[in-house]
């Protein structure tokens, strides 16, 4: 079973891929099965399905899959340049450091973008003070790759009334409806809205030799011990290794990409598991480290030829960070939902997806019902409780005993606008545990993003009540202070002055450096970006393979 292939670092492989997550795992599989020699450098360890647990203290609280808390990562945050960034106890940007990356621990809600997402700027006009732009590709160009994700990665679902057109049906039916989904359907029906089944990157039945979901309920933040979550660890990495052309090299913490005197990338320098510096030579480099790490690494790789960082002649590396904002309510119902069982989300409402200019602001979102806090006990105790109830004592105990199984959240995920002032930079002082300059996030939601959140919070509250809530409370509109969706920081575009990569993910500045992950996205979508990141990766792979075969790298 174990893949024994080991490349010598001095041997020039065809591709060094940095990151093994949603994009890196797919690129590893596609490039290696096409016959290219590939080394994947992953900063986290190589955990397998049998290593994943239901241990809330270790996984959610101590952030085991994140590689620990912010004492390790040293990340800092500020809302704008006028503030001095401070180091919160929880890292502002959160992702899994493990083979398979965040596709291992994500919730696996899996939406395609719609045609409108790629051309909103043309349809709606400019938004002053933002970098709101069309994508250089259309939905129609990406559609075959969404379908490839459906079938190769494994997606459960059923068509909804507002879905983008698809060239093939879902390969398997949706996950079973939960009580939260039934209640959302009831609320939606009363309000004249349309609840539809949530698509998941989770197998509702056996597919491609993998077992179906056992509905254990540990999707969000946990790795799937059944292998039913369609992470790249479960789907792509084994096929990459089976090709005989791919080495997954875990615990390899990349510190820079070097360029030669012709301005081409020639090696990736990293710290191995023992902390020793190594350099992997490669004909080309694919950077898929996520929207925060990819930007950091390009900025860290500044050299005499590229004083502002690699691929950064536009100055757009790290800019336009988009998180997708959130809003919602908690609600308690008469009977037990036991919503901790099964996947988080079984029904969604996408009636408010598109921008409605009569509202007076840009933006839209998707609404779902899920346990959220009441998925696990400690989270419920810490964050999920009715705020009118004392935090301890008899009443606290009675309330958590009653509400835990009867509570759900109705949550909206929303658009975020691309802004110069929302970005990833290198913290001038803070370092991570490997001595790398820590990620500094600067982020303040655009006023339209906040209006979208407030608008959708109202809709969530209406849905909770229409579904018959005994009591409900709003989670409140808060400025975003970090997130898991790391989008836009190396955006794709045709103009090298306002984008980092071209429409085929090749960096404008360095011909043998490709960047593909959430950073490629031009607009944020409405949340749940992983499906798009995976489709982009399959598409990028086709273009990279074609270029390599044509001797054009």
């Amino acid at each position: 079973m174990t893949n024994e292939l080991r490349f010598d670092t001095r041997e020039e492989v065809d591709f060094a891929i940095i990151g093994s997550g949603s994009a890196g795992g797919i690129l590893a599989k596609e490039l290696s099965t096409a016959g290219f020699k590939v080394v994947v450098l992953e900063q986290g360890p190589y955990r397998k399905a049998g290593d994943f647990t239901h241990d809330e203290l270790a996984v959610r609280v101590r952030a085991e899959l994140h590689g620990g808390g912010n004492d390790i990562h040293g990340q800092t945050f500020r809302h704008d340049e006028s503030e001095t960034a401070t180091k919160p106890s929880t890292p502002p940007v959160r992702y899994a450091r493990t083979v398979g990356g965040s596709s291992v621990h994500f919730t696996a809600n899996f939406w395609r973008l719609r045609p409108v997402d790629f051309k909103e700027r043309s349809l709606l006009g400019p938004i002053a003070g933002t970098n709101f732009a069309d994508w250089p590709i259309s939905y129609e160009e990406l559609e075959p790759y969404y379908t490839k994700v459906d079938w190769d990665i494994g997606v459960s679902g059923a068509p909804g009334p507002f879905d983008a057109p698809r060239s093939r049906p879902f390969p398997m039916p949706p996950m079973p409806i939960k009580s939260s989904g039934v209640l959302l359907e009831r609320g939606a029906a009363k309000l004249g809205l349309h609840a539809q089944p949530e698509p998941h990157a989770i197998l509702s039945q056996p597919h491609n030799g993998r077992a179906g979901c056992i509905s254990c309920g540990y999707c969000m933040w946990y790795g799937c011990e059944a292998g039913a979550k369609s992470s790249t660890l479960a789907t792509m990495i084994p096929r990459a290794e089976a090709s005989g052309n791919c080495e997954i090299r875990p615990e390899s913490v990349v510190i820079r990409i070097d360029t030669d005197d012709k301005g081409r990338a020639n090696q990736v320098v990293y710290l191995d598991a023992d902390g020793n510096e190594q350099a992997q030579k490669a004909k080309a480099v694919v950077l898929s480290a996520n929207g925060a790490e990819s930007a950091r690494l390009l900025l860290m790789s500044a050299n005499a030829q590229h004083p502002d960082g690699l691929a950064n002649s536009s100055g757009f590396v790290g800019r336009n960070l988009m998180h997708n904002a959130h809003a919602g309510v908690n609600a308690v119902y008469e009977h037990p939902l036991n919503d901790y069982k099964g996947v988080q989300v079984s029904r969604i409402v996408h009636d408010f997806y598109e921008t409605d200019q009569s509202r007076g602001f840009y933006g839209g979102g998707g609404i779902d019902a899920r346990p959220l806090f009441s998925a696990t006990p400690i989270f419920q105790a810490q964050r999920g409780m009715d705020p009118t109830v004392p935090r301890w004592g008899k009443k606290f105990k009675e309330t958590i005993a009653h509400d835990f199984t009867r509570q759900m959240s109705i949550v909206a995920s929303t658009t975020s606008l691309a802004l110069d002032s929302n970005n990833i930079t290198l913290d001038p002082e803070s370092k991570d545990a490997w001595g790398r300059p820590a990620i500094r996030e600067t982020y303040r939601d655009h006023p339209d993003d906040l209006e979208t959140m407030a608008f959708l919070e109202d809709r969530c509250a209406e849905l909770a009540d229409a579904a018959g809530a005994l009591k409900s409370w709003r989670l409140g509109i808060h400025l975003t202070t970090g997130g898991e969706h790391l989008l836009g920081t190396c955006r794709m575009g045709n103009d090298p002055a306002s984008s980092v990569v071209d429409s085929k993910h090749r960096s404008h500045d360095i011909p043998n450096l490709f960047i593909c992950d959430g950073s490629s996205m031009v607009t944020s979508g409405r949340g749940q970006p992983t499906m798009t990141i995976m489709a982009l990766a399959f598409r990028a792979a086709d273009h990279i393979i074609a270029a390599a075969r044509a001797g054009d790298i």
Partner: protein, 199 residues
């Protein structure tokens, strides 16, 4: 080891084809187990602690027992939350032991001022304990004690607390069972019932 685990899971998957009836029974939940044995509290008092002194353990256990009190159902005392404190301070949270001790000293100084000659926290009446604890909510110790009580009551038993899954049973969480078959809750069961009738 890993292969065996995966194989046994596969067998489990194959064997869960049709469990609707049993799943519905599970849905109703085991209810709260009536824990009437006083044995667990007795065991706690005798148990040697790894890092906590006897008075420290007594104070923290008494605080935890007011945060999640014993009522008609077991609370932090019966769940052995103090053993979570002790284990955590001996391992992952060892860096916070000094802070906790400083917080306890502060707590006890305030206690002595509020109840001169009143003995330790555990010696007060429950009402007195609650009143004093409310006065300490912004103190150094309370936040840490609150968080550790939640961890100790609701984390896996292997960390020392949540004895016999007392914390999970209280709230109807069967997190130790592994996988599930729908229906999961009242409303989806109701829907499936309706759907079945329609057919």
């Amino acid at each position: 080891m890993e292969d065996r685990k995966i194989r046994s899971r596969r067998r489990f998957l194959q064997s869960t084809g049709s469990l609707t009836g049993a799943a519905y029974l599970r849905l109703l939940g085991p209810g709260l187990i009536a824990v009437t044995e006083a044995a667990c509290t007795a065991k706690q008092a005798e148990s040697p602690f790894k890092v906590l002194g006897r008075d420290e353990a007594g104070d923290l256990a008494a605080i935890a027992a007011r945060i999640i009190p014993t009522t008609d159902t077991p609370g932090a005392a019966e769940a052995g939350v103090i053993h979570f404190f002790d284990n955590a301070f001996a391992t992952e949270m060892s860096g916070q032991l000094d802070g906790a001790r400083a917080g306890l000293a502060e707590f006890n100084a305030a206690l002595a001022a509020a109840h001169p000659g009143g003995g330790r926290f555990a010696d007060l009446s429950e009402d007195e304990q609650d009143a004093f604890l409310r006065s300490q909510e912004s103190g150094t110790l309370f936040g840490l004690a609150w968080t550790m009580t939640m961890f100790g009551f609701f984390s896996m038993e292997k960390y020392g607390g949540n004895k016999d899954h007392i914390g999970w049973e209280l709230i109807g969480f069967e997190g130790h069972h592994g996988g599930w078959q729908y229906p999961f809750g009242y409303y989806d069961a109701e829907l499936h019932g309706e759907t079945n009738r329609d057919k």
